[in-house]
């Protein structure tokens, strides 16, 4: 059977889609909308966030969420580009997966630095 890297990208897409489906609504609520609404200001203070992200379990979970979300979005944006009439799929795919790779590395660096 011919080997294709397609399966890997699809697996990351599917895993990321599942993880984001469960966690993204509440995460956007807490980190995106709550600050403007004045909610959770204690939890989002520098001291609390620093201690929270300093926990190794939290680091591992956040790395999983962020990297899978990036690979999920990259694969889907590749398809969206095709849907919008862009036919340079090889270039689009390389760009999308490159960006997801960058996001993965940056997430790792950021989490290790906290």
């Amino acid at each position: 059977m011919a080997k294709s890297p397609k399966a890997i990208f699809w697996l990351l897409f599917a895993a990321g889609g599942t993880v984001t489906a469960f966690v993204l609504p509440v995460m956007i609520l807490v980190t995106g909308l709550a600050p403007a609404a004045g909610l959770f200001s204690d939890a989002l203070s520098y001291e609390t966030m620093n201690a929270f992200v300093g926990n190794w379990l939290v680091k591992i979970i956040l790395f999983g969420i962020l990297s899978l979300a990036a690979w999920h979005a990259a694969h889907r944006l590749r398809v969206v580009a095709h849907d919008f009439g862009i036919r340079a799929d090889t270039f689009v795919a390389q760009l999308a997966y490159f960006m997801a790779g960058i996001a993965t590395v940056l997430a790792l660096i950021a989490l290790l630095a906290v």
Binding site: G17, T18, T20, A21, F22, V23, L24, P25, V26, M27, I28, L29, V30, T31, G32, L33, A34, P35, A36, L39, F40, D42, A43, L44, Y46, M49, N50, F52, V53, L62, L66, A69, A70, H72, A73, A74, R76, L77, V79, V80, D83, F84, G85, M99, A103, L106, A107, I109, A110, L111, A113, V114
Partner: protein
């Protein structure tokens, strides 16, 4: 090859506006744009968290700016669209056989919403309300 092949008249760039089914398809596909930007914003936040209190305050300022609020409102709406459309295909994507029969698809969908509620409550408790 037919001499006069049928070519369906369909725009390459606006085809998804022509049918309700296509519109709902492109809506949940476009959620990926917001997932990507939100992920980027969060990674930026973590990078700035590691650089000290002033940097973190600067990130929070961006989130609470008018543009930040508009983006996160849209991102929240598209996250819901993503979740609902993702759970909708669970019966097709997840076939669990129990003895002779398959576990009913709607039961699996309800289980997913149950887990979603559980995860959301845990995150809200961690954030300090609920």
């Amino acid at each position: 090859m037919s001499r006069n092949p049928y070519v369906r008249k369909m725009s390459k760039t606006t085809w998804f506006l022509t049918h309700g089914r296509y519109r709902s398809y492109i809506l949940h596909e476009l959620s990926s744009f917001f997932v990507a930007i939100y992920t980027g914003i969060l990674i930026m936040g973590l990078l700035r968290l590691g650089s000290g209190p002033e940097e973190w305050a600067g990130w929070l300022e961006g989130v609470t700016s008018p543009a930040g609020i508009v983006f996160h409102l849209l991102a929240f709406a598209f996250a819901i669209i993503h979740t609902v459309s993702w759970f909708k295909v669970v019966p097709q994507a997840m076939r669990i056989q129990r003895g002779e029969d398959f576990v009913p698809g709607q039961l699996l969908v309800r289980a997913h919403y149950g887990v979603l509620a559980g995860v959301s409550v845990v995150v809200l408790i961690l954030a300090g309300i609920a």
